[in-house]
Structures are given as C-alpha cells and as structure tokens.
C-alpha cells in the first residue's frame, strides 16, 4: 500500500530526513513514534503528497508518485490526513465537513447525507450550523476528523492527532480510527509521541529518531527488545547496563554486569561479547525483608538509593552493585514503607532482559 524508499528531505541547509524506508501493508495500523523534531511530521506530509521528497522513491497504491507527478492529486484524493493542531475554516461545521466532497464535485444530496452521518459518528450532530471556530479544541479536532473521514480515504494519516486534547475527544478519535480500520479496512499511519497510544492503537510501530526510522516492529519488539540503546532510551527503558557475555546454557545467556551475573532468556548477539543488558522498570519486582519465593532467575540484594515520585508510580533506584530501577505503584511503595538506605531485593525474570550488541552503538 505504501512503499517508501530512501526518502530524504532538505530544508535550506538542514537535512530533516536521511533516507527513510517504510513499508505499510493494506489494512495496517502503523504507528510512528519519535521525539519532537525527529522528522515525523515532514515524513507524513511527504507520504500524503503535500510536499515532494528531495530524493527517494515513493509508491502509493502501486503508483510511483515520484515518477508520475501528474497522478499526485488523483492519489492524494484516495488518502486523508489529520493534523496535530485542530484546523477548521471560519465557517459552519457543516461547510467544514463538506469541503472535501465539494473539491471532488460530489452531488449536493450525497454531501448532505454523508456530512450528517459523519457528524453523528463524531458526536457533533447538534453543532451542524454552529461556526466551527466557536467549538472547543477537542470538538474542532473531531470536526477535522469528520472532514477527513467523509471523503472515505483508503489511507488515513494522523499527525499527533490527540496531542493536547481532552481525554474524551482523544478517546473518540482513537475509537473512530480503530473502528474505521476494522470495518472499512482503512490503512492508518499515525505519528505520536504518546507511547501508550502507540501501543494501544498500532499493530506495528516504527521508531523515528533524528530523521531516520531506526526500527520497525510489533509494539512488543519495540518496547521490550529495542535494537539500540538510543531506541531503548526513547521508549523509556529504565535499565541499560554494560555487560560481558560469559556463557550460553540451555537457551539462557549468562552475562556479567558489574561483578554480578544476570541470566538473560535470549541468545547473545553474534558480533561481540560486549553487550548492553536492558530491562524495563515495570519488569522489576521489588521487595524488602526475606526474599520471596519466585521463579525469576535473577534475584539481587541491595539498598534503596533513590526514591522519586512519577505519579501514578514511584521510581525506586536500588544499588545492587549497579543501579537497578524499579517501578512500583504508590500504594505498594507505601505498604512497604520504603526509605532511602533501607535494604531491599529485586527480582527480574530472564525473559524480561534483552541484549544489544555493543558494536551497534557506534552506528547510532
């Protein structure tokens, strides 16, 4: 459906995209996550044919739009895009939603029917004749979504669609998008910096950092098995430690980290013995007193070095010879009566640990 190869974009002196590849299949929901300024929006504008790439190849619906420039409008009319900022024209809600159909010279009766149907779906039917500018930000964004969906796009691009929106509007938009995907088989490409949203909505996720898509995979792969520490850092992996592969035994790799042996439930990377061991804070179980009976392979003793509140969780750093970060709920932190300097133990399942070859770091 979407085949982008080696897409570059330069603004003045600055290369914003350096050879981005992405392939999205029909009916997929693809999330693109990445920090602000990483080129996500530019990439989406290129995919929606609002701006041309400076080089690279782009095929949409099997049309090579770089070569066949004269088909750009035809192809663009099979797609739709929702921007981060709610942008409505200074006219009625009805007229706003009708715009796309008017550009396509659709008949009046059909416009009337489609517009009313879509406004019903986004829950704004009662504002039909209100000026769209007088609605709240969230309502304006719902008008914008209705305005796109009324044109029945086969591909829908969403550029941070729910950033700064109230929870209700965010939910409506997410619900509608996933439903359109399910019912109509609409292909969706969504930029977001909200990683939870990425996990909730997307079936596949691409991580864009510094103008490159560094990894594409299932949410699980991205969040639990990132391919580089750069990605690990971005997706919020709390624990990234230097390690050395000691041996491999029965599907388990033994890795030494600061004098402690950690057991990792995956094969070591082939390139080198030097690795990064990474795991997420929410995969760390924290306890005080006698070590609990657990099936976890890695149980470490240490003392609490730091407690910081990141509601709704508490972030605990335990010094086990190397710092281990754990996330616990506020309630359990209170129950355990945690304080800095107190002895504690942590346990991490071997399957929660992931290894990254050290050599890959130099590439990033």
């Amino acid at each position: 459906m979407i085949e982008a190869q080696n897409i570059t974009k330069i603004y003045g002196e600055m290369e914003v995209l350096h050879g981005v590849d992405l392939s999205v299949g029909e009916g997929d929901i693809m999330g693109i996550i990445g920090p602000s300024g990483s080129g996500k929006s530019t990439f989406l504008r290129i995919l929606d044919l609002i701006e041309p790439p400076d080089s690279g190849d782009l095929s949409l619906f099997d049309v090579n739009v770089v070569k066949e420039r004269d088909r750009v409008v035809e192809v663009r009319r099979r797609m739709g895009m929702l921007f981060q900022k709610p942008i409505v024209f200074n006219t009625s809600v009805y007229e706003n939603v009708a715009l796309g159909l008017k550009y396509r010279h659709v008949g009046k009766n059909e416009i009337d029917r489609s517009v009313k149907e879509l406004l019903e779906e986004v829950g704004l039917a009662r504002y039909l004749h209100s000026n769209a500018r007088n609605l709240s930000g969230g309502e304006q964004q719902r008008v914008s979504l209705a305005r796109v969906l009324v044109t029945d796009p086969e591909i829908l691009f969403l550029d941070e669609p729910t950033a700064n929106l109230d929870p209700k509007s965010s939910k409506t938009i997410e619900r509608l998008v996933t439903r359109m995907n399910r019912d109509r088989g609409m292909t969706v490409v969504m930029n977001t910096h909200d990683m939870l949203q990425g996990q909730r909505v997307a079936q596949r996720i691409g991580v864009m950092i510094g103008g490159d898509i560094l990894q594409v995979g299932s949410p699980r792969e991205i969040f639990y098995a990132p391919e580089s520490t750069k990605i690990a850092n971005f997706v919020g992996v709390d624990n990234i430690h230097d390690g050395k592969v000691l041996r491999r035994e029965h599907q388990i790799t033994a890795v030494e980290v600061a004098g402690t042996i950690l057991y990792v439930g995956e094969s070591p990377p082939e390139q080198s013995d030097r690795v990064k061991v990474i795991f997420r804070g929410e995969d760390v179980t924290l306890g005080i007193g006698k070590t609990a009976q657990t099936s976890a392979r890695n149980i470490l003793n240490g003392t609490i070095a730091e407690i910081s509140d990141i509601a709704p969780f508490v972030h605990i750093k335990v010094d086990c010879g190397f710092p281990v970060s754990a996330l616990v709920t506020v309630r359990s932190a209170e129950e355990m009566d945690l304080s800095e300097g107190k002895p504690a133990w942590v346990s991490i399942k071997a399957s929660a640990l992931h290894l990254i070859a050290e050599s890959e770091e130099s590439e990033g």
Binding site: R76, I87, T151
Partner: protein, 270 residues
C-alpha cells in the same frame, strides 16, 4: 484602552513631535497652495472645467486603472510563487521585481521606450499587429505598469505569506488541487492585501511623469499637462491644474480607503 489615545511616555511624545515635522511639511505645502488657489475661485472653476484638464485627469486615472487590472492578472501569480516557494535564483527574481523602485524614472522611461517604440523589440511586432505605444494610450499604460508593478507584487506577496500554510495543507489533504486551494482558500484571505496593493500601485501609476513622457508625451497625463502649462503659461496656470488634481486624488483615495474597511476578512488565521 485609554493609553492608546494618550501619549504619557516622554519618548513617544518626542517621537511624535519629530514625526510631526514631516506631516507638518505636507500640510504646509497643501495649505500654501490651497490658500493661493482659493483666493481666485473663478479661475479655479474655469481650470477645473477646462476640457484639457478633465481629459488629462481621465486619461491618468484610467491608464492607472488599466495598469492595475493588468497587474491583478499577471502580478498575482508571481506574488504567490514568491510567497510560497524557495528556489535557486529567487533573490535575483526579487531584485528584478524591485528594480523599478530604485531606478531613476527617466531610466525606466528609456527602458520602456526602447522596448515598445515602433522599432523596438516588442514595439515592432506589436505595431505590425496594429498596436501603437509611442504617443498613445497603451504607451502610458505600459510605463505605469512598469513603475508600479513592485508596489503591487510586494504588497500582495506579503498578504499571501500571512495566509497560514496549514490552511492550504488542510485543503490539499482534503483533495483540493493547488489551483482550487489558491482560489478557495488563499485568495479570499488575501483580498485586503490585494486591494491595498492595487491602491498603492494605482497611486504610484497616476503619479508617474518621467517614464511616461519618454514614450507618450501625448495624450497628456496630468503630470505632463502641469509641466506643459508650467513651461508655457507659468506657475499660476499650472498650480491651478495641480490643485484640481489634488482634489480629485483626495476624493478618490478617501473613497478607496473607506472601501478597504469592508474588504476581505482576516479572521481565518490559525
């Protein structure tokens, strides 16, 4: 908003006094002329009803209007391209657009004359096709067009730049072509700038003298008539013509400025 009407700040007060000098100069010049002319009303009336004077005013304003109409058609697309694109050599194009502002107007006149005279590069084929520029109305329009173009283009370009690209992008993502976007989104939001640019260009056009006499001494535009009257009949006669033109211009500009109040909308900015 009371502070808007007062100038309590010593800095603003002194700036106003200094700035008042330039306004004062204009007022003084106008009053000086007005007092002289109004002291001989019958002569003024006879000048104002002189068919040569009326003709010259009509030719001047009409040719200015013609020049603006041409600018609307050929200047608007250029303004949009300059506002929305970045290309190699854009600086050169911008400088070329601005050249008529910097050039002494006699030079502008020579440029226009060489191009549009009967044996000129464009003048010759157009003459063969039946269009004469030398000492003819089209010559006046061309000279006016040349000197007023930058004022129009720069003003309209500024208007286009103020239309948020977001709005254009939304229209295009909804399936509008570039041209549809331009007609339905950009133009309606730039009407006021286009109107102001037209007034500026028109004002510049009707004030032109040097460039016009090079190619079309006849028919008289008002500047030529005043100069002609000055050299043949002296200051009294020419200043009367000047005063009549001033009154005509005042009337025209006041009407146009009033119209701008009701022109265009600005409220679609995001």
């Amino acid at each position: 908003m009371r502070t808007k009407h007062r100038l309590p700040d010593p800095c603003l007060i002194s700036f106003s006094l200094i700035g008042g000098l330039i306004v004062g100069l204009t007022v003084l010049a106008l009053l000086n002329l007005a007092v002289k002319e109004l002291s001989d009303i019958p002569f003024l009336i006879s000048t104002a009803s002189d068919s040569d004077v009326i003709n010259a005013i009509v030719v001047t304003m009409g040719a200015g209007l013609n020049a603006v109409l041409i600018l609307l058609i050929i200047g608007t697309p250029l303004a949009y391209v300059l506002a929305r694109t970045d290309f190699r050599g854009k600086g050169v194009v911008e400088s070329l657009v601005d050249i008529p502002i910097m050039l002494p107007h006699t030079i502008a006149g020579i440029l226009v004359y060489l191009l549009f005279m009967r044996r000129g590069l464009l003048g010759a084929p157009l003459y063969a096709a039946g269009f004469t520029f030398e000492d003819a109305y089209p010559g006046i329009v061309i000279a006016m067009l040349f000197v007023s173009a930058p004022y129009y283009i720069n003003s309209v370009r500024e208007g286009f730049e103020k239309v948020p690209v977001h709005l254009e992008n939304v229209a295009r993502t909804l399936g509008a072509t570039r041209f549809q976007t331009f007609m339905r989104v950009v133009l309606p939001l730039s009407v006021r700038h286009i109107f102001n640019g037209s007034i500026l260009a028109w004002g510049r056009a009707i004030g032109e003298f040097a460039a016009i006499i090079m190619i079309a001494y006849y028919p008289f535009v008002i500047s030529t008539l005043i100069y002609y009257t000055f050299t043949t009949s002296g200051i009294k006669a020419s200043s009367a013509v000047a005063f009549v033109m001033i009154l005509a211009c005042f009337a025209a500009f006041i009407i146009l400025r009033l119209l701008t109040r009701y022109t265009g909308r600005y409220d679609d900015r995001v």
